[in-house]
């Protein structure tokens, strides 16, 4: 039986090709927590529409890199630029507004508000950004069929499977038409099939919308959905994909 089969190379690209223009870049980032140096001069760039997997062992600094790129953390040293402007030196209020308007987030779990329905959860970023409830829910509802969530609009997170809840999280990340989605171990709590569905939908929808995606993962099958991988080791970028 064929094991490591030399299957034919597909004639179509796995995902939409990025256009090469950088949307987000970091230069010489350093970040220290107490005596631990999490980032030690790391560089990173992602093009518009590009999907990049950030890989590395636990404690390598990959999640710290994501948090600095997304403006959740401020680096101790170095710069982060988004769409040509520096964001690392913005105050917390401006970074928070930027995160709501330009970035989307998908985490491993615990990201949905349990008291709200799926539709309300997806609408939430729009409501926080001042969109009227009716408009917000209309825009949110449009994502449900695209992510295989038809009929689940009224269901609360506790009444959904892990895969369904994660697809709701993907919808919530996409509903604001962000430029960049940050996904931290997006399939970490899912079985193989549900994880595959989430990755297909996340990368497919992002690709259709021209959204860049930074995926932090230790799973090679998840990293295989990205155009390239960056390996973080001891707070520095490593490997051919980092070039």
């Amino acid at each position: 039986m064929t094991t490591l089969a030399v299957l034919p190379t597909p004639s179509i690209p796995a995902i939409g090709a990025p256009d090469g223009r950088p949307i987000l870049a970091a230069s010489d980032l350093h970040k220290r927590f107490g005596t631990t140096e999490a980032l030690r001069g790391i560089d990173f760039a992602i093009a518009r529409g590009e999907i990049v997997a950030v890989m590395g062992a636990s404690g390598s600094g990959k999640s710290t890199l994501l948090h600095c790129l997304a403006g959740i953390l401020r680096p101790d040293h170095g710069t982060v630029t988004f769409d040509g402007g520096r964001i690392d030196n913005l105050d917390e209020g401006r970074r928070s507004r930027l995160r709501r308007s330009a970035f989307g987030f998908v985490f491993q779990f615990g990201q949905l508000v349990p008291e709200l329905s799926a539709l309300e959860n997806v609408s939430l970023p729009l409501l926080l950004d001042g969109v009227r409830r009716g408009d917000a829910e209309d825009r949110a509802a449009a994502w449900f069929p695209r992510l295989g969530l038809d009929g689940l609009e009224g269901r609360r997170p506790g009444d959904m499977s892990g895969g369904q809840a994660q697809r709701v999280a993907v919808a919530r990340a996409l509903v604001t038409d962000p430029a960049v989605i940050f996904a931290d171990e997006p399939t970490g709590s899912l079985d193989s099939l549900a994880g595959e569905q989430v990755m297909e939908l996340l990368t497919g929808a992002a690709s259709d919308a021209g959204v860049s995606v930074v995926i932090v993962t230790h799973e090679p099958r998840v990293a295989a959905y990205a155009h390239r991988e960056v390996v973080v080791r001891d707070g520095r970028a490593s490997g051919p994909g980092a070039a």
Binding site: M1, L4, A5, A14, R221, A224, V231, G239, P240
Partner: protein, 179 residues
């Protein structure tokens, strides 16, 4: 691939001609390496010699004669035995990677760039397979999944090796009598 068992499995469904068997083997089991007609007929001949298949009919319409084969009770027994007996694991690639890592350490070189290059090559192949799976018919998609999981296992082993490289270096470089 075990061509004899693939043929027995297809014949267990129903009697078939050699041409149909070749087509089905290619479709289900060997999309990347189609089997030769000669291999199919030679295998059928050997199976017939062992009493595991029998030629049921020879038909001749407009083209060349077509032989229809059927599985025998001995063939069913052999197929069932093979299906329930675990296969020997096939650690070929992992063994090659292990050899490479040890040789790099013996040469006094840094393992990291070697491992990074192997990871990159693995991920490139996994991207291709992921794209194959997205568009292929289910049997091919399953085959792509099979390859993806094996490649992932290699990468997990590589990551573990990197994590233990100092320990590995001490063991590999220790004098033979204490190793």
């Amino acid at each position: 691939m075990s061509v004899p068992h693939a043929l027995l499995g297809l014949l267990r469904q129903q009697p078939r001609h050699g041409y149909d068997l070749k087509r089905l083997v290619d479709r289900y089991f060997a999309p990347d390496h189609p089997v030769a007609f000669a291999q199919v007929y030679a295998t059928l001949s050997r199976l017939e010699g062992k009493g595991r298949v029998r030629m049921e009919a020879v038909e001749q319409a407009e083209g060349p004669e077509r032989r229809r084969y059927a599985i025998t009770p001995d063939g069913i027994d052999e197929l069932d035995r093979w299906l329930v007996q675990p296969l020997d694991p096939e650690p070929h690639l992992q063994a090659a990677l292990f050899t490479k890592v040890v040789l790099v350490i013996l040469a006094g070189r840094d393992v990291t760039p070697i491992v990074d290059a192997e990871r990159h090559a693995h991920l490139e192949r996994m991207r291709e397979l992921t794209a194959v799976r997205r568009t292929a018919a289910m049997p091919i998609a399953l085959l792509a999944d099979y390859a993806l999981f094996h490649l992932e296992a290699d990468l997990r082993w590589l990551d573990l090796t990197v994590a233990r490289v100092d320990e590995l270096r001490r063991t590999v470089l220790a004098p033979l009598e204490t190793a």
